[in-house]
Amino acid sequence: MSNDRPGKVRMMQGNQACAEGAIAAGCRFFAGYPITPSSEIAENLSVMLPRLGGKFIQMEDEMAAMGAIIGAALTGQKSMTATSGPGFSLKQENIGYAGMAEVPCVIVNVMRGGPSTGMPTLPAQMDVQQARWGAHGDRGVIALTAKSAQETYEQTIRAFNLAEKFMTPVILLIDEITGHTTEKVIIPDASDIEIVHRKKPDEDPENYLPYRLTDECVPILAPFGTGYRYNVTGLCHNETGFPTNDSHDIQCLIERLTRKIEMYEDDIIRNNELMLEDAEIGVFAYGSVARTAQAVVRMCREEGIKVGLLEPKVLWPFPAKAVFAMAQKVRAIVVPELNLGQMAREVSLASECRVPVHKLGRVDGRPIPPQQLVEKIREVV
């Protein structure tokens, strides 16, 4: 939102910024299914993609949309889908597939409240743990978040970059407030945007192993149709890509799927800190709630309460180190969120009982206004 960056200034909704970010990242395939409050992402891309020679398709259901983007990604296209809570649940099996088969793609979830159909038109942050553990099985997960239209634009690009770099589905969690808030977005020149493309194999097709074990832990999958014929499966497989029941191969695979994210945590995780150096009360807030928290840090400082903010831009992998560092400095941590403590739980774990962690969970479909958080902090003090 700072005005000093070069670029073109436009007013847009978070959902539109997401579509613009996808295009800037090189996304040329979108498959989706209508669901409030994410539908504007699909609507915008249905207009933009064919103009760029890209492909848009509204599929028959959420599972189909997720399957279609995996299929498209295997041809080398950067692919995306967008949904909201119930649709995210329906996609989980195929998100797990993309994790297992190591197919890069981006899933945007404009969160609304649940369980079930819950609150279609109202904001919530209730899918934070679903993003981590929604699909069955064990693997590393990358999930980003954003609090404004500008950040949504930037984080959508980053989601594609991380997907391509680590060959994995990447989730972007925004909420109804961010998705539907119209505000300034500074669109940088294309030359100023860092774009990552997945690696291409450099060996002959005869020697090619799609899931070759390397120190990097990230496979190199050749796009279908480029002369490298291999098999992709959701079953446990070995380096060849064919299914296996070999205990060693299976153990290696599942461990690698977790390790390939864990070992790069420091590169992936990004946090924003506000007045944390001398803070006595630490606030941990993400997504649209981080905006409330920013306002509250300033309001409390005016009152003489030393509050600081730790705002993660990446929810998974969880920024445990930053939370632990904060826990060593402050007297208490407050976690305001639009759920009943999904991240507060992680914060408690990461702070290793150094300080009390106070939850402020609002689940009535309304944002947390600054006054409510200020009162909570006064109570904690």
């Binding site: 700072s2 119209t182 505000e183 300034k184 905006r291 600054p370 006054q371």
Partner: protein
Amino acid sequence: MDRYDVRLSGSGGQGLILAGKILAEAAAIYDGRNAVQTQSYGPEARGGASKAEVVIKDGEIDYPKAMDLDLLLSLTQESCTKYSGDLKEDGIMIVDSEIVKYPPEGSFKLYAAPITSIAANKIGKIVVTNIVALGILSKIAGVVTEESMRKAILARVPKGTEEINMKAFDEGWKTGEELLAE
């Protein structure tokens, strides 16, 4: 400038979300400040109480929803009753005089004009009610320049409707002047 919080309320289908976007763009793009526009809506595409909110500020806007309202526009009785609680004591309330028969009492300044009728009768198109309202509120609030409002409207309205929308804005602006003079 400190935050200026505006809420445009009425019923779904009156074009208040578009009006909110226009107001925000006038402030942010053409006046070069910051503005955020948010909305709150129910499952109905038409009818029901609906609101669009705009926060205007020179610096970064953290909390994006309107808090203490500087200005409330209400085009229906239901929305006026439901959404007027956050209006500041010295705030501004603009209502459709023919529809909002029972505005709440308070120390705020109340301006009432037959906004819907102006659109329907003087302009001849009820769909421009939102633009008439924008004309009135931008004159009364004085928070966005007239020139920027005109540019923002022209950039947003469908091609071929520029003239009628400008006419609606002029009429609203004039009504605003009259209300201020009273």
